[in-house]
Protein backbone atom coordinates (compact mmCIF):
# COMPACT_ATOMS: atom_id res chain seq x y z
CA UNK A 1 0.00 0.00 0.00
CA UNK A 2 1.10 3.56 -0.55
CA UNK A 3 -0.62 6.88 -0.14
CA UNK A 4 -0.69 10.54 -1.11
CA UNK A 5 -1.82 13.41 1.10
CA UNK A 6 -3.64 16.48 -0.16
CA UNK A 7 -4.49 19.39 2.14
CA UNK A 8 -7.80 21.06 1.33
CA UNK A 9 -9.54 23.95 3.05
CA UNK A 10 -11.92 22.01 5.21
CA UNK A 11 -10.32 18.60 5.26
CA UNK A 12 -7.22 16.53 4.65
CA UNK A 13 -7.61 14.02 1.85
CA UNK A 14 -5.47 10.88 1.98
CA UNK A 15 -5.61 8.67 -1.07
CA UNK A 16 -4.72 5.02 -0.37
CA UNK A 17 -3.49 2.88 -3.24
CA UNK A 18 -2.90 -0.86 -3.69
CA UNK A 19 -3.48 -3.47 -1.00
CA UNK A 20 -3.89 -2.74 2.71
CA UNK A 21 -2.79 -5.83 4.62
CA UNK A 22 -1.00 -7.08 7.70
CA UNK A 23 2.33 -6.05 6.16
CA UNK A 24 1.42 -2.34 6.08
CA UNK A 25 1.30 -1.98 9.84
CA UNK A 26 4.34 0.32 10.13
CA UNK A 27 3.29 2.40 7.14
CA UNK A 28 -0.19 3.02 8.47
CA UNK A 29 1.25 3.97 11.86
CA UNK A 30 3.35 6.61 10.09
CA UNK A 31 0.30 7.82 8.18
CA UNK A 32 -1.70 8.14 11.41
CA UNK A 33 1.10 10.31 12.88
CA UNK A 34 0.98 12.56 9.83
CA UNK A 35 -2.78 12.84 10.07
CA UNK A 36 -2.54 13.77 13.74
CA UNK A 37 -0.14 16.61 12.97
CA UNK A 38 -2.52 17.97 10.40
CA UNK A 39 -4.73 20.91 11.39
CA UNK A 40 -7.92 19.87 9.61
CA UNK A 41 -10.62 18.35 11.79
CA UNK A 42 -11.89 16.10 9.01
CA UNK A 43 -9.41 13.46 7.90
CA UNK A 44 -10.74 11.71 4.82
CA UNK A 45 -9.32 8.41 3.58
CA UNK A 46 -10.14 8.09 -0.11
CA UNK A 47 -10.36 4.34 -0.79
CA UNK A 48 -11.32 4.52 -4.48
CA UNK A 49 -7.92 3.26 -5.63
CA UNK A 50 -7.52 0.74 -2.81
CA UNK A 51 -7.86 -2.72 -4.35
CA UNK A 52 -7.86 -4.99 -1.34
CA UNK A 53 -8.14 -4.90 2.43
CA UNK A 54 -7.73 -7.86 4.79
CA UNK A 55 -8.94 -8.28 8.37
CA UNK A 56 -5.74 -6.77 9.78
CA UNK A 57 -6.26 -3.78 7.46
CA UNK A 58 -9.73 -3.28 8.92
CA UNK A 59 -8.17 -3.39 12.36
CA UNK A 60 -5.72 -0.65 11.34
CA UNK A 61 -8.55 1.56 10.01
CA UNK A 62 -10.23 1.19 13.40
CA UNK A 63 -7.02 2.18 15.16
CA UNK A 64 -6.89 5.26 12.91
CA UNK A 65 -10.48 6.12 13.84
CA UNK A 66 -9.68 5.82 17.54
CA UNK A 67 -6.52 7.94 17.27
CA UNK A 68 -8.44 10.67 15.40
CA UNK A 69 -11.25 10.61 17.98
CA UNK A 70 -8.69 10.99 20.79
CA UNK A 71 -7.29 14.05 19.03
CA UNK A 72 -10.80 15.47 18.50
CA UNK A 73 -10.71 14.77 14.77
CA UNK A 74 -13.14 12.89 12.58
CA UNK A 75 -12.14 10.01 10.33
CA UNK A 76 -14.13 9.51 7.14
CA UNK A 77 -13.81 6.54 4.77
CA UNK A 78 -14.79 7.62 1.27
CA UNK A 79 -15.48 5.98 -2.11
CA UNK A 80 -14.71 2.38 -1.25
CA UNK A 81 -15.25 0.06 -4.20
CA UNK A 82 -15.09 -3.64 -5.06
CA UNK A 83 -13.72 -6.00 -2.44
CA UNK A 84 -12.99 -3.11 -0.04
CA UNK A 85 -16.61 -1.96 -0.14
CA UNK A 86 -17.86 -5.50 0.39
CA UNK A 87 -15.64 -6.02 3.42
CA UNK A 88 -16.77 -2.72 4.98
CA UNK A 89 -20.39 -3.68 4.37
CA UNK A 90 -20.10 -7.22 5.70
CA UNK A 91 -18.38 -5.94 8.86
CA UNK A 92 -21.06 -3.24 9.20
CA UNK A 93 -18.33 -0.70 9.84
CA UNK A 94 -20.74 2.17 9.10
CA UNK A 95 -21.96 1.72 12.67
CA UNK A 96 -18.53 2.71 13.95
CA UNK A 97 -16.90 4.92 11.29
CA UNK A 98 -18.35 7.56 9.00
CA UNK A 99 -18.52 6.07 5.52
CA UNK A 100 -19.28 8.20 2.45
CA UNK A 101 -19.79 7.15 -1.14
Amino acid sequence: MDYGIEDKEQETLVRLRGRLTFNDHAKLRALIREMLQNKAKRQVLDLSTLEFVDSAGIGMLLIAREEMANADKQLVLRSAAGQVKRVLTVAQLNKIVTIED
Binding site: F22, A56, G59, L62, A91, I96
Partner: protein
Protein backbone atom coordinates in the same frame (compact mmCIF):
# COMPACT_ATOMS: atom_id res chain seq x y z
CA UNK B 1 38.00 -8.77 21.10
CA UNK B 2 34.69 -10.56 21.44
CA UNK B 3 35.14 -13.82 23.34
CA UNK B 4 33.16 -15.82 20.82
CA UNK B 5 35.53 -14.64 18.09
CA UNK B 6 38.71 -15.18 20.13
CA UNK B 7 37.64 -18.78 20.79
CA UNK B 8 37.02 -19.61 17.12
CA UNK B 9 39.18 -22.41 15.77
CA UNK B 10 41.63 -21.31 13.09
CA UNK B 11 43.57 -23.87 11.03
CA UNK B 12 46.83 -22.64 9.47
CA UNK B 13 47.93 -24.72 6.49
CA UNK B 14 51.51 -24.13 5.29
CA UNK B 15 54.36 -26.44 4.31
CA UNK B 16 57.01 -24.08 5.73
CA UNK B 17 57.67 -24.38 9.48
CA UNK B 18 58.69 -20.74 9.68
CA UNK B 19 55.45 -19.48 8.10
CA UNK B 20 53.28 -21.56 10.43
CA UNK B 21 55.16 -20.26 13.45
CA UNK B 22 54.97 -16.67 12.22
CA UNK B 23 51.23 -16.74 11.49
CA UNK B 24 50.56 -18.53 14.79
CA UNK B 25 52.54 -15.88 16.71
CA UNK B 26 50.73 -13.00 14.99
CA UNK B 27 47.32 -14.52 15.68
CA UNK B 28 48.22 -15.38 19.29
CA UNK B 29 49.43 -11.85 19.89
CA UNK B 30 46.15 -10.49 18.48
CA UNK B 31 44.22 -12.56 21.03
CA UNK B 32 43.10 -15.63 19.03
CA UNK B 33 43.31 -18.58 21.42
CA UNK B 34 42.46 -21.58 19.31
CA UNK B 35 44.98 -22.01 16.48
CA UNK B 36 45.84 -25.36 14.93
CA UNK B 37 48.39 -26.25 12.22
CA UNK B 38 48.62 -28.54 9.21
CA UNK B 39 51.79 -29.09 7.19
CA UNK B 40 50.27 -29.89 3.80
CA UNK B 41 46.97 -30.39 1.93
CA UNK B 42 46.38 -34.00 3.03
CA UNK B 43 47.12 -33.19 6.65
CA UNK B 44 44.70 -30.24 6.39
CA UNK B 45 41.81 -32.35 5.09
CA UNK B 46 42.42 -34.99 7.81
CA UNK B 47 42.39 -32.38 10.55
CA UNK B 48 39.28 -30.69 9.15
CA UNK B 49 37.47 -34.03 9.09
CA UNK B 50 38.49 -34.64 12.72
CA UNK B 51 37.41 -31.20 13.96
CA UNK B 52 35.96 -28.56 11.66
CA UNK B 53 37.64 -25.16 12.06
CA UNK B 54 35.82 -21.83 11.86
CA UNK B 55 38.39 -20.41 9.45
CA UNK B 56 41.19 -21.70 7.25
CA UNK B 57 44.40 -19.87 6.36
CA UNK B 58 45.74 -21.67 3.33
CA UNK B 59 49.03 -21.58 1.43
CA UNK B 60 48.80 -22.15 -2.32
CA UNK B 61 52.18 -23.56 -3.28
CA UNK B 62 52.50 -26.84 -1.41
CA UNK B 63 53.94 -30.20 -2.49
CA UNK B 64 51.47 -33.06 -3.04
CA UNK B 65 48.17 -31.24 -2.97
CA UNK B 66 48.19 -27.50 -3.54
CA UNK B 67 45.90 -24.92 -1.99
CA UNK B 68 43.61 -24.73 -5.05
CA UNK B 69 42.85 -28.45 -4.75
CA UNK B 70 42.22 -28.25 -0.97
CA UNK B 71 39.79 -25.43 -1.62
CA UNK B 72 37.96 -27.28 -4.40
CA UNK B 73 37.58 -30.43 -2.30
CA UNK B 74 36.20 -28.45 0.63
CA UNK B 75 33.68 -26.62 -1.52
CA UNK B 76 32.53 -29.90 -3.07
CA UNK B 77 31.56 -31.11 0.42
CA UNK B 78 28.30 -29.57 1.56
CA UNK B 79 29.41 -29.50 5.21
CA UNK B 80 32.22 -27.05 4.43
CA UNK B 81 30.49 -25.03 1.73
CA UNK B 82 30.44 -21.89 3.86
CA UNK B 83 33.75 -22.30 5.72
CA UNK B 84 35.77 -19.09 5.25
CA UNK B 85 39.04 -19.82 3.44
CA UNK B 86 41.76 -17.15 3.34
CA UNK B 87 44.45 -17.87 0.80
CA UNK B 88 47.90 -16.43 1.36
CA UNK B 89 49.43 -15.68 -1.92
CA UNK B 90 52.29 -13.93 -3.60
CA UNK B 91 50.33 -14.21 -6.82
CA UNK B 92 50.02 -10.68 -8.04
CA UNK B 93 48.56 -11.14 -11.53
CA UNK B 94 44.79 -10.82 -11.68
CA UNK B 95 44.54 -14.16 -13.53
CA UNK B 96 46.04 -16.00 -10.58
CA UNK B 97 43.84 -14.17 -8.13
CA UNK B 98 40.78 -15.00 -10.20
CA UNK B 99 41.88 -18.63 -10.27
CA UNK B 100 41.98 -18.62 -6.47
CA UNK B 101 38.46 -17.20 -6.27
CA UNK B 102 37.20 -19.68 -8.87
CA UNK B 103 38.45 -22.51 -6.64
CA UNK B 104 36.23 -21.19 -3.84
CA UNK B 105 38.50 -18.86 -1.88
CA UNK B 106 36.71 -16.45 0.42
CA UNK B 107 39.46 -13.82 0.53
CA UNK B 108 43.16 -13.30 -0.19
CA UNK B 109 46.04 -12.33 2.08
CA UNK B 110 49.10 -11.02 0.28
CA UNK B 111 52.59 -12.35 0.86
CA UNK B 112 54.85 -11.22 2.39
CA UNK B 113 52.49 -11.14 5.33
CA UNK B 114 51.43 -7.86 6.85
CA UNK B 115 50.48 -8.21 10.51
CA UNK B 116 47.64 -5.64 10.45
CA UNK B 117 46.13 -6.97 7.24
CA UNK B 118 46.24 -10.59 8.44
CA UNK B 119 44.55 -9.83 11.77
CA UNK B 120 41.96 -7.51 10.19
CA UNK B 121 40.89 -10.04 7.54
CA UNK B 122 40.76 -12.95 9.99
CA UNK B 123 38.69 -10.87 12.38
CA UNK B 124 36.20 -9.70 9.73
CA UNK B 125 35.54 -13.20 8.43
CA UNK B 126 35.18 -14.64 11.91
CA UNK B 127 32.78 -11.86 12.87
CA UNK B 128 30.61 -12.75 9.87
CA UNK B 129 30.76 -16.40 10.78
CA UNK B 130 29.75 -15.83 14.40
CA UNK B 131 26.96 -13.52 13.31
CA UNK B 132 25.58 -16.01 10.82
CA UNK B 133 25.84 -18.80 13.37
CA UNK B 134 23.88 -16.73 15.92
CA UNK B 135 21.20 -16.00 13.33
CA UNK B 136 20.99 -19.66 12.34
CA UNK B 137 20.58 -20.70 15.97
CA UNK B 138 17.93 -18.06 16.52
CA UNK B 139 16.11 -19.00 13.36
CA UNK B 140 16.13 -22.69 14.27
CA UNK B 141 14.69 -21.79 17.65
CA UNK B 142 11.89 -19.69 16.16
CA UNK B 143 11.10 -22.39 13.63
CA UNK B 144 10.99 -24.98 16.39
CA UNK B 145 8.65 -22.87 18.49
CA UNK B 146 6.37 -22.12 15.54
CA UNK B 147 6.20 -25.85 14.81
CA UNK B 148 5.29 -26.50 18.43
CA UNK B 149 2.64 -23.77 18.38
CA UNK B 150 1.25 -25.25 15.20
CA UNK B 151 0.93 -28.70 16.72
CA UNK B 152 -0.86 -27.17 19.73
CA UNK B 153 -3.11 -25.41 17.25
CA UNK B 154 -3.86 -28.67 15.46
CA UNK B 155 -4.82 -30.11 18.82
CA UNK B 156 -7.58 -27.53 19.22
CA UNK B 157 -9.30 -28.73 16.06
CA UNK B 158 -11.94 -31.45 16.47
CA UNK B 159 -10.47 -34.94 16.45
CA UNK B 160 -11.51 -37.69 14.07
CA UNK B 161 -13.05 -39.54 17.04
CA UNK B 162 -15.26 -36.59 17.89
CA UNK B 163 -16.39 -36.23 14.26
CA UNK B 164 -17.19 -39.96 14.12
CA UNK B 165 -19.21 -39.72 17.33
CA UNK B 166 -21.27 -36.91 15.80
CA UNK B 167 -21.96 -39.02 12.75
CA UNK B 168 -23.61 -41.56 15.04
CA UNK B 169 -25.47 -39.20 17.36
CA UNK B 170 -26.53 -36.46 14.94
CA UNK B 171 -26.84 -38.35 11.66
CA UNK B 172 -24.46 -36.02 9.85
CA UNK B 173 -20.97 -36.37 8.48
CA UNK B 174 -18.37 -33.73 9.27
CA UNK B 175 -15.48 -33.17 6.92
CA UNK B 176 -12.95 -30.41 7.09
CA UNK B 177 -10.07 -28.95 5.18
CA UNK B 178 -7.59 -26.66 6.91
CA UNK B 179 -4.43 -25.20 5.43
CA UNK B 180 -2.40 -22.96 7.70
CA UNK B 181 -0.17 -20.24 6.32
CA UNK B 182 3.56 -20.59 7.06
CA UNK B 183 3.55 -18.03 9.88
CA UNK B 184 0.38 -19.31 11.57
CA UNK B 185 -2.86 -17.47 11.01
CA UNK B 186 -5.88 -17.16 13.21
CA UNK B 187 -8.36 -19.64 11.73
CA UNK B 188 -10.07 -22.02 14.09
CA UNK B 189 -13.17 -24.18 14.01
CA UNK B 190 -14.80 -26.56 16.42
CA UNK B 191 -17.94 -28.30 17.60
CA UNK B 192 -19.90 -28.12 20.84
CA UNK B 193 -22.07 -31.21 21.41
CA UNK B 194 -25.62 -30.31 22.54
CA UNK B 195 -28.55 -32.34 23.79
CA UNK B 196 -30.93 -34.22 21.51
CA UNK B 197 -28.49 -35.17 18.76
CA UNK B 198 -27.74 -31.57 17.89
CA UNK B 199 -24.43 -29.75 18.01
CA UNK B 200 -23.06 -26.26 17.82
CA UNK B 201 -20.42 -25.42 15.24
CA UNK B 202 -18.15 -22.39 15.13
CA UNK B 203 -15.70 -21.07 12.60
CA UNK B 204 -13.47 -18.21 13.64
CA UNK B 205 -10.91 -16.08 11.84
CA UNK B 206 -8.73 -13.84 13.97
CA UNK B 207 -7.56 -10.62 12.33
CA UNK B 208 -3.89 -10.49 11.44
CA UNK B 209 -1.35 -13.25 11.24
CA UNK B 210 1.52 -14.81 13.10
CA UNK B 211 1.95 -15.55 16.76
CA UNK B 212 -0.32 -12.74 18.04
CA UNK B 213 -3.26 -13.93 15.92
CA UNK B 214 -2.68 -17.52 17.05
CA UNK B 215 -2.54 -16.49 20.71
CA UNK B 216 -5.78 -14.56 20.34
CA UNK B 217 -7.40 -17.53 18.64
CA UNK B 218 -6.45 -19.59 21.72
CA UNK B 219 -8.10 -17.03 23.98
CA UNK B 220 -11.23 -17.04 21.85
CA UNK B 221 -11.29 -20.83 21.94
CA UNK B 222 -11.36 -20.70 25.75
CA UNK B 223 -14.13 -18.09 25.73
CA UNK B 224 -16.24 -20.11 23.31
CA UNK B 225 -16.04 -23.21 25.47
CA UNK B 226 -16.91 -21.20 28.57
CA UNK B 227 -20.03 -19.86 26.87
CA UNK B 228 -21.12 -23.20 25.45
CA UNK B 229 -23.10 -24.58 28.43
CA UNK B 230 -25.33 -21.54 29.02
CA UNK B 231 -25.69 -20.18 25.48
CA UNK B 232 -24.78 -22.96 23.04
CA UNK B 233 -28.44 -23.41 22.05
CA UNK B 234 -28.94 -19.76 21.08
CA UNK B 235 -26.54 -18.53 18.38
CA UNK B 236 -27.63 -14.87 18.54
CA UNK B 237 -27.18 -14.61 22.31
CA UNK B 238 -23.98 -16.65 22.02
CA UNK B 239 -22.30 -14.19 19.64
CA UNK B 240 -23.64 -11.18 21.53
CA UNK B 241 -22.07 -12.43 24.77
CA UNK B 242 -18.89 -13.56 23.00
CA UNK B 243 -18.51 -10.02 21.66
CA UNK B 244 -18.94 -8.47 25.13
CA UNK B 245 -16.22 -10.73 26.56
CA UNK B 246 -13.93 -10.25 23.56
CA UNK B 247 -14.17 -6.46 23.72
CA UNK B 248 -12.69 -6.62 27.25
CA UNK B 249 -10.02 -9.10 26.21
CA UNK B 250 -8.73 -7.88 22.87
CA UNK B 251 -6.71 -4.79 22.04
CA UNK B 252 -7.91 -2.29 19.50
CA UNK B 253 -7.13 -3.54 16.01
CA UNK B 254 -7.56 -7.16 17.05
CA UNK B 255 -10.91 -8.70 16.30
CA UNK B 256 -12.42 -11.86 14.92
CA UNK B 257 -14.93 -12.80 12.30
CA UNK B 258 -17.10 -15.62 13.59
CA UNK B 259 -20.02 -17.74 12.53
CA UNK B 260 -21.73 -19.89 15.14
CA UNK B 261 -24.69 -22.12 14.45
CA UNK B 262 -26.66 -25.08 15.72
CA UNK B 263 -26.93 -28.07 13.40
CA UNK B 264 -30.23 -29.88 13.94
CA UNK B 265 -30.47 -32.90 11.64
CA UNK B 266 -33.82 -34.09 12.97
CA UNK B 267 -35.49 -30.69 12.51
CA UNK B 268 -33.66 -30.27 9.17
CA UNK B 269 -32.43 -26.84 10.13
CA UNK B 270 -29.21 -24.84 10.62
CA UNK B 271 -29.75 -21.86 12.93
CA UNK B 272 -26.85 -19.44 13.11
CA UNK B 273 -25.55 -15.95 13.77
CA UNK B 274 -22.64 -14.32 11.96
CA UNK B 275 -20.07 -11.61 12.65
CA UNK B 276 -18.55 -10.42 9.35
CA UNK B 277 -18.12 -14.03 8.29
CA UNK B 278 -18.26 -15.63 4.86
CA UNK B 279 -21.91 -16.63 4.30
CA UNK B 280 -22.75 -20.32 4.82
CA UNK B 281 -23.83 -22.20 1.69
CA UNK B 282 -26.43 -24.95 1.41
CA UNK B 283 -25.92 -27.44 -1.40
CA UNK B 284 -29.44 -28.89 -1.74
CA UNK B 285 -30.18 -32.39 -2.98
CA UNK B 286 -30.87 -32.92 -6.68
CA UNK B 287 -30.06 -30.03 -8.93
CA UNK B 288 -31.77 -27.28 -6.96
CA UNK B 289 -29.85 -23.98 -6.87
CA UNK B 290 -27.42 -23.20 -4.05
CA UNK B 291 -28.79 -21.28 -1.08
CA UNK B 292 -26.49 -18.62 0.37
CA UNK B 293 -26.97 -17.55 3.97
CA UNK B 294 -26.16 -14.25 5.65
CA UNK B 295 -22.66 -13.40 6.85
CA UNK B 296 -22.86 -9.71 7.67
CA UNK B 297 -22.49 -8.35 11.20
CA UNK B 298 -19.93 -6.36 13.15
CA UNK B 299 -16.73 -8.37 13.83
CA UNK B 300 -16.40 -9.69 17.36
CA UNK B 301 -14.20 -7.69 19.74
CA UNK B 302 -14.57 -4.15 18.36
CA UNK B 303 -17.46 -2.42 20.09
CA UNK B 304 -19.53 -3.39 23.11
CA UNK B 305 -23.29 -3.43 22.71
CA UNK B 306 -23.47 -5.07 19.29
CA UNK B 307 -26.42 -7.42 18.88
CA UNK B 308 -26.34 -10.42 16.58
CA UNK B 309 -29.45 -11.69 14.86
CA UNK B 310 -30.32 -15.29 14.29
CA UNK B 311 -30.77 -16.60 10.75
CA UNK B 312 -31.80 -19.98 9.48
CA UNK B 313 -31.05 -22.25 6.56
CA UNK B 314 -32.95 -25.43 5.69
CA UNK B 315 -30.90 -28.59 6.05
CA UNK B 316 -32.85 -31.38 4.33
CA UNK B 317 -31.63 -34.98 4.06
CA UNK B 318 -29.08 -35.55 1.28
CA UNK B 319 -27.99 -31.92 1.35
CA UNK B 320 -24.69 -30.50 2.56
CA UNK B 321 -23.73 -27.30 4.33
CA UNK B 322 -20.43 -25.60 3.56
CA UNK B 323 -18.89 -23.16 6.04
CA UNK B 324 -15.62 -21.51 5.11
CA UNK B 325 -13.22 -18.68 5.87
CA UNK B 326 -13.18 -15.63 3.59
CA UNK B 327 -9.70 -16.64 2.39
CA UNK B 328 -11.42 -19.46 0.49
CA UNK B 329 -13.49 -16.92 -1.45
CA UNK B 330 -10.44 -14.82 -2.22
CA UNK B 331 -8.46 -17.82 -3.40
CA UNK B 332 -11.23 -19.01 -5.70
CA UNK B 333 -11.83 -15.48 -6.94
CA UNK B 334 -14.88 -13.29 -7.14
CA UNK B 335 -17.48 -12.54 -4.52
CA UNK B 336 -19.30 -15.82 -4.32
CA UNK B 337 -18.57 -16.49 -7.97
CA UNK B 338 -15.57 -18.79 -7.74
CA UNK B 339 -16.94 -20.89 -4.90
CA UNK B 340 -20.49 -20.97 -6.32
CA UNK B 341 -19.20 -22.10 -9.71
CA UNK B 342 -17.17 -24.81 -8.01
CA UNK B 343 -20.12 -26.02 -5.91
CA UNK B 344 -22.30 -26.09 -9.01
CA UNK B 345 -19.75 -27.90 -11.12
CA UNK B 346 -20.73 -31.27 -12.56
CA UNK B 347 -18.20 -33.15 -10.40
CA UNK B 348 -19.78 -31.81 -7.19
CA UNK B 349 -23.44 -32.03 -8.27
CA UNK B 350 -23.19 -35.53 -9.71
CA UNK B 351 -21.48 -36.82 -6.58
CA UNK B 352 -24.19 -35.21 -4.44
CA UNK B 353 -26.96 -36.67 -6.60
CA UNK B 354 -25.47 -40.16 -6.19
CA UNK B 355 -25.21 -39.75 -2.42
CA UNK B 356 -21.42 -39.56 -2.60
CA UNK B 357 -20.93 -36.51 -0.37
CA UNK B 358 -17.34 -37.53 0.32
CA UNK B 359 -16.48 -37.32 -3.37
CA UNK B 360 -18.17 -33.94 -3.65
CA UNK B 361 -16.06 -32.67 -0.75
CA UNK B 362 -12.90 -34.11 -2.29
CA UNK B 363 -13.65 -32.36 -5.59
CA UNK B 364 -13.98 -29.04 -3.75
CA UNK B 365 -10.81 -29.41 -1.66
CA UNK B 366 -8.81 -30.53 -4.70
CA UNK B 367 -9.78 -27.40 -6.61
CA UNK B 368 -9.04 -25.31 -3.54
CA UNK B 369 -5.64 -26.90 -2.98
CA UNK B 370 -4.74 -26.30 -6.62
CA UNK B 371 -5.73 -22.64 -6.36
CA UNK B 372 -3.95 -21.88 -3.08
CA UNK B 373 -0.57 -23.47 -3.82
CA UNK B 374 1.66 -25.40 -1.43
CA UNK B 375 1.88 -22.82 1.31
CA UNK B 376 -1.19 -20.54 1.34
CA UNK B 377 -0.77 -16.84 2.10
CA UNK B 378 -3.56 -16.96 4.63
CA UNK B 379 -5.29 -19.68 6.62
CA UNK B 380 -7.96 -21.62 4.75
CA UNK B 381 -10.75 -23.47 6.50
CA UNK B 382 -13.62 -25.32 4.90
CA UNK B 383 -16.08 -27.34 6.97
CA UNK B 384 -18.48 -29.59 5.12
CA UNK B 385 -21.52 -31.04 6.90
CA UNK B 386 -23.29 -33.78 5.02
CA UNK B 387 -26.81 -34.71 6.09
CA UNK B 388 -27.73 -38.39 6.10
CA UNK B 389 -27.49 -39.75 2.59
CA UNK B 390 -24.94 -37.19 1.47
CA UNK B 391 -22.18 -38.88 3.39
Amino acid sequence: MDEAIAACRILVVDDTDFNRTLIGALLGEAGFQNVAYAKDGFDALDQIAAEAPDLLILDIMMPGMDGFEVCRRLRADHAYADLPVLVQTALSSSDDRNRAFAAGTTDLISKPLDRTELVARVRIHLQNRVLIRDLQTYRARVEGELAMARSMYDHLLPSATLCAALTDSAGVTLRSHTALSSDLGGDLWGVLPLAGGRFGLFLLDMAGRGVSAALNAFRMHTLIHELAPPLGERPGAFLTELNERAVCLLELGQHATVIYGVVDGAAERFTYAAAAAAPPVLIPPGNAPLVFGEGAGPPVGIAAGARYEEHGLPFPPDSALALHSTAVLETLGGRNGGLAALLQSAAVRNAMADGRGGDAFTAVTKALAAAQGDVPLDDHTLVWIGHGGAR
